[in-house]
Symmetry: C2
Subunit: 332 residues, 2 copies
């Protein structure tokens, strides 16, 4: 019923859209068969804010539910890229296909060398079962907030067994993106006690698995103690995040991390939590896309343009002007 | 003309608002006379997304133009808080009143100890001419994007000579906030060459003054060379960001930083750039407030609520549903 309505609205808008839709559906089919240039074109369409997900061919529509979405975040320099690299190897040994979406920051402060990261991941460049793509946060926040979740869903739809999303920046947008994955890995280094204490709440909220990377350095035991104390103090949940020690540079602990992820995934499935997570992602995508479309429509609003001018000339308070725009648009 | 219209709309909405407006105007007057509890109440109203700036008393309205807005950002652990502390001292020696707004991250990865920072800044707690407030990024991004610029304007209006905004997180939202100040300080440490190279564009865009803090460590000359090379390669602007070396922990280089800021401020005034910056901030505030009000109005939209349900049940693609909501709202 809702679908029918959707198609009617859509046909009324522009009949040439339908041809576009056929082309997009074809890109999906080709991407699903492993055609990387078709996949790249799909993602480019998403970056240009073209609608693609309405044109997923029927056969693919439910496929994404078998794909596992992993988020990774942590301080700059904590070793996330090396760890991602090791995780790719781990899943490749099981003959899985793996995609990585790396969110590059606008900010100049990554700590870790971004170019170095990309180069490092090139070790998989000749492996046709691995796809690595980065997406810059430069430009509109609204655009990014919508493009990233859609790209992740596309990667899940076109047959990747694991999709890993990794951020370099550690601001709110970046944490939001990673935190809504099926499983979220939070990467720390030894001797991070202070900041962990200070930021307790934020950490607990998003971590499903903690990794203490560079675990060959001093302070591992203290960091583990801090994390454990923190988890003890927090509200008990059904899943207590395990703490895995790794030395990503030589692969130490990666198998344990792989097992911890598998255990969390099993927990998500058994508890039905995985459906709740997907529903939450769909819900956020809907809200963000609505806001984004509204934002894009504003430049065609006469009221907005006129009041924008008054704001620039200092004739009216920006927030008061915003209230007027909204009153006019919603009253009409 | 626009103002009259604004008042009419406003009176129609709710007559009791007018009394609220009187109260807010009174808070402004008291805050301007140095009443910190009145100022705290104003900021709490902003955090709860109440409109305050429409009620600025006439006498205060143009006052903020003499206030200087400084943004500070940099990698976690680069020493931003200590530097802020030293800048406060520097301006206090000129008998200026200084306000600091510290944006705390949702993210657990600050690197520097946030609690420690707040404690450190307590050295000014007994100085009635210094006001330090932190604002958490937790919660809605839309809310934060609006609350921070409004708070900064309020601090400028109520007689602070300098207003410093400092972020701990280094994601896109945080960089946006700091980057629209009058003068933006980017704090680096020695031996950051790689990431600077990699993130060239982002750095150049927001920095008005570079600080190499912890300049008593090795690698200062290399970092300076990297920065200089980067600036040479970039499109020439009228203002070339100077590179200041500091050791914030013992105050070294802070006077030079103060002078560099004064020079940049003079440049902004002489070139008229300061008005362009203010206009840009007002313009962004207007757009963000419009989006935020729209976001808040969505939960009262029957179409939004109904389609939200369909999205959750997997009956319709989130982005397609978003298009329907916008079509209905804008068509009405």
């Amino acid at each position: 019923m809702v679908h029918t309505l959707s198609v009617v609205v859509f046909l009324k808008r522009n009949t040439t859209d339908m041809e576009e839709g056929d082309k997009v559906a074809d890109l999906f089919r080709r991407a699903d068969r492993g055609d990387r240039s078709a996949l790249a074109r799909l993602i480019s369409l998403i970056e240009r804010e073209k609608e693609v997900l309405s044109f997923v061919p029927e056969g693919l529509r439910t496929k994404g539910t078998n794909s596992y979405l992993i988020g990774m975040t942590g301080a700059p320099g904590a070793g996330k890229s090396t760890l991602t690299d090791r995780l790719i190897e781990w899943y490749r040994r099981q003959d899985d296909e793996v995609a990585v979406l790396a969110i590059d920051p606008t900010s100049p402060f990554s700590g870790g060398a971004i170019l170095g990261d990309r180069v490092r991941m090139q070790s998989h460049a000749l492996d046709s079962k691995v796809y690595i793509r980065s997406m810059a946060t430069r430009g509109s926040l609204g655009g990014l907030a919508v493009a990233v979740p859609i790209t992740l869903r596309v990667l899940q739809l076109v047959s990747f067994d694991e999709v890993i999303v990794e951020t370099v920046g550690v601001g709110q947008v970046e944490v939001d993106i990673v935190g809504s994955s099926d499983s979220t890995i939070v990467v720390l280094n030894p001797l991070w006690g202070d900041s962990i204490q200070a930021n307790k709440a934020g950490l607990l909220e998003i971590a499903d698995v903690f990794v203490i990377n560079k675990a060959d350095r001093d302070g591992v035991r203290q960091t583990r103690r801090d994390l454990d104390a923190m988890l003890d103090l927090s509200e008990p949940k059904k899943w207590r995040p395990p703490i895995i020690e790794t030395v990503a540079s030589d692969g130490q602990g990666v198998a344990e991390l792989g097992s911890a992820l598998a255990a969390h995934r099993a927990f998500l499935v058994d508890s039905g939590e995985i459906n709740r997570k997907r529903e939450k992602r769909a819900s956020e995508e809907f809200t963000k896309a609505t806001l984004r479309l509204f934002e894009r429509s504003l430049k065609n609003s006469g009221d907005f343009v006129r009041l924008h001018q008054s704001v620039k000339e200092g004739e009216i308070e920006p927030t008061r002007a915003a209230q007027e725009v909204i009153d006019k648009i919603l009253r009409n």
